[in-house]
Subunit: 147 residues, 2 copies
DNA sequence: GCATTTCCGATAATTCCAGTCAAGAATAGG
DNA sequence: CCTATTCTTGACTGGAATTATCGGAAATGC
């Protein structure tokens, strides 16, 4: 399974969300703002965040002055979690999910499993907080201390 | 980019090809035999092997008593090479291929790049010969010494 | 020449993806 | 209560990719 636009938009949007929460803590952020500043189609982003909410990544508040907030600190939300909520756990082949009927006698499945584990390790070891820090560095700003 | 059926068929088929070459060295193997023993649609396998030939993974001989042979020893053909010939180099997101227009300021691309490198390392470090050995072990056979 | 087998291009069925549309429900503020 | 705002949900669509299938052409061994 590949990593779709949904997941990529999500990671970008969550980084922006984390940034805005840092500036104005406790205040829900409107999707419209995120969509605009990161150049993401709003209505598509709505789908994405609905899935993120169901996945326990963000909290929402409806109505006027509503919006989204991270369910946990940015440093505790891994990229793997985000991808899993939108595309499922990324695996290069179905073999890795026990769907391969010829597990016995098919030495190939082991490669796909190892590849999947490698991806999980990378994505699971990186958090939205990390990305925010990297982004600060790329933009040449003084990095804030992300809690 | 994900790893499609083409690549998975290819890896299975190449393992079978390696096995048969080991038994009868120098003799081209018919696709029909591989398709039958590994339960792969023949005409689809033809497409796959045409791409493998163009990618320099296998050699072919046409006509009666023709067939396919590995272009190099099985221990020198990496899974990555096979996948690259069929699906392109597997990357979780296009960002990793320089197509991301906002590389500056997008801290996210680094994650996808790291994930891709992790996959490449696993797939590049495993050869068809390795898979043949693993398959022997799974089948409980005495493993041959694969050159 | 004939059977065999790779080679090649066109085509079709299905599924997936990215994005849009539209109606509905909750909330804040007046 | 009323209204504007914002999330919530599901259906829908156009296009692309995937997974084949079909038919024949070219090469080779006998």
């Amino acid at each position: 399974m590949n990593i779709s636009m949904k997941s990529r938009y999500a990671v970008r949007a969550l980084t922006e969300l984390a940034r805005r929460e840092e500036i104005a803590p406790g205040k829900p952020v409107r999707l419209g703002d995120i969509a605009e500043s990161r150049d993401i189609p709003l209505q598509f982003l709505e789908q994405v965040f609905a899935a993120l909410r169901r996945g326990g990544v963000v909290r929402s508040r409806r109505g006027a002055a509503g919006g989204y907030a991270l369910a946990r600190p940015a440093a505790e939300i891994s990229v793997l979690e985000v991808v899993a909520a939108l595309d499922g756990v990324p695996s290069p082949a179905e073999c890795t999910q026990g769907l391969c009927e010829r597990v016995d006698g098919c030495g190939a499945s082991s490669v796909w499993i190892e590849a999947q584990q490698a991806v999980e390790k990378v994505l699971g070891g990186t958090t939205i907080g990390d990305l925010l820090t990297r982004e600060d560095a790329l933009r040449g700003r003084a990095p804030m201390y992300h809690i």
